[in-house]
């Protein structure tokens, strides 16, 4: 049932001490919180790009991390798609080769043609990232992650650098992706409106710890003025 169980602690070189525990089986779970609350670090730990000092991460029946048992599955083997805030497309590869980068390394049931169609990337395939707009880059980044055949998708504030009109368009693309492929997703954001629109479940992080948890409308809307 796509259950993600996360419990990790980590002490950063600065002042932030992270101690986060949550379980979720929602289709789209939002990690919500102010800058510096530890949202991105949690995504990096789930993806296997940052090793916490202690803790465990389980997804379905797989153990990705268990520091007590010395288990730490590498990033390449977790089959987690990651869409970074600033897209991180490979500048030396065309859009087409960016899209196929993950697919060449992992088998995937997701059809490239369908991804290109849903995200309307057909006209961009021969172009290079430097010739794309911000919104186009995020669509390519989303398509690239999908085509790597992820069993879990992580989106780290994918709309942070975009203007309001563009945010709305990209959210529509994201909702199409969720409706078409049903990949469980962790969506990081500090925008209540964004979270209410895309997520079924929200986990609020406050200074490295879990605050409130629940349905976005129940958690975020009553306290909207404080966010």
């Amino acid at each position: 049932m796509n259950r993600l169980s996360f419990h990790c602690t980590h002490q950063f070189a600065g002042s932030l001490a992270l101690d986060v525990a949550f379980d979720t089986s929602a289709q789209v779970t939002a990690l919500f919180g102010h800058s510096g609350s530890g949202k991105t670090s949690v995504l990096y730990m789930i993806a296997g790009l940052l090793r916490p000092h202690a803790g465990s991460i389980h997804f379905e029946d797989q153990t990705w991390l268990d520091t007590r048992r010395g288990i730490n599955v590498g990033a390449a083997d977790r089959r987690v798609g990651f869409v970074f805030q600033d897209h991180l497309l490979f500048p030396h590869l065309s859009v087409e080769r960016n899209l196929m980068y993950g697919r060449r390394r992992r088998s995937s049931a997701i059809e490239p043609r369908r991804v290109i169609e849903v995200l309307e990337l057909g006209d961009l395939l021969a172009r290079y990232p430097r010739n794309l707009s911000g919104g186009e880059k995020q669509r390519v980044a989303l398509g690239r992650s999908l085509l790597s055949g992820p069993q879990l998708l992580l989106l780290d504030e994918p709309l942070a650098a975009l203007d309001e009109a563009l945010k709305d368009r990209i959210l529509t693309y994201f909702q199409r992706v969720v409706a078409e492929w049903h990949v469980p997703t962790i969506y990081v954001s500090h925008s209540p409106a964004e979270v209410c629109r895309v997520a079924d479940h929200v986990i609020v992080l406050e200074q490295g710890r879990v605050g409130q948890v629940g349905r976005p409308a129940d958690v975020l809307l009553p306290n909207q003025s404080s966010w």
Binding site: A76, F84, R144, S148
Partner: protein, 233 residues
């Protein structure tokens, strides 16, 4: 082509042979060390930097002497090379290539390290999240993005190899047709300055040296600028 004597042609050919061999032999270790220095965060990093940069500041004759001690036929490494590969380093062009490689290594590492530093390390994280192993991520993302800087490092290393004198004369000697590169030939002509025509020989090789060094510097500069402009787009 009689604007150079046979002896000068041989010195020119040997210089290219030694320079190319030195760069080819140094390339993989220079890329590895440049990458480690660009990415590695450790309190011991200074030690690696010190070892890598030593040949840059040490008198080349000292470098040459240390190489001679190690690679002499009865030296710790020289005896092994001779026994296993039948390869003799001292007083051969291999010795000149080894000396050139050691002396030019810090310059190559410096340029390559800068090239790696200009590549966003998170691109490798993106590659790993897409299923690439660490070496695959380096090979398919970081190295292609740093390739102009790596090439600039090779050009600089080659230029430095062409000019190497002190360590070379200690390890490889100054044997016409075997180890006498351009700087050694100039030294020989200078030592025989009373011989008719030696002045002209010196000036021809000096001219070639300046042209090669300037060409290499311009090429390296151009490659580094292209790398920088690529990063800014």
């Amino acid at each position: 082509m009689d604007w150079l004597t046979d002896e000068e042609w041989v010195a020119l050919r040997l210089s290219f042979q030694v320079g190319l061999c030195a760069v080819a032999g140094s390339l993989v270790p220079a890329v590895a060390v440049g990458y480690v220095l660009a990415r590695w965060q450790s309190r011991w990093k200074w030690l690696l930097e010190l070892v890598v940069n030593l040949p840059l500041v040490m008198p080349p004759v000292v470098t040459g002497y240390l190489l001679l001690v190690c690679f002499a036929p009865r030296g710790p490494l020289g005896s092994l090379l001779e026994r296993w590969l039948g390869l003799r380093i001292v007083l051969t062009w291999w010795g000149a290539a080894l000396a050139a490689a050691v002396v030019s290594f810090p310059l190559m590492v410096r340029a390559i390290r800068l090239a790696f530093q200009a590549v966003d390390p998170r691109l490798e994280l993106a590659a790993r999240s897409l299923g690439a192993r660490r070496f695959d991520a380096f090979w398919s993302v970081t190295l292609p993005l740093a390739r102009r800087g790596v090439l600039a490092g090779c050009v600089l290393g080659f230029a430095r190899s062409l000019g190497e004198f002190g360590a070379t004369i200690v390890v490889a000697g100054n044997i016409i047709g075997e180890t006498q590169t351009i700087p050694l030939a100039i030294f020989s002509y200078f030592a025989a300055a009373n011989r008719p025509g030696s002045d002209a020989q010196i000036w021809r090789l000096v001219g070639i040296s300046i042209a090669l060094a300037a060409g290499a510097l311009l090429a390296s500069e151009w490659l580094e600028r292209r790398q920088a402009s690529r990063e800014s787009t």
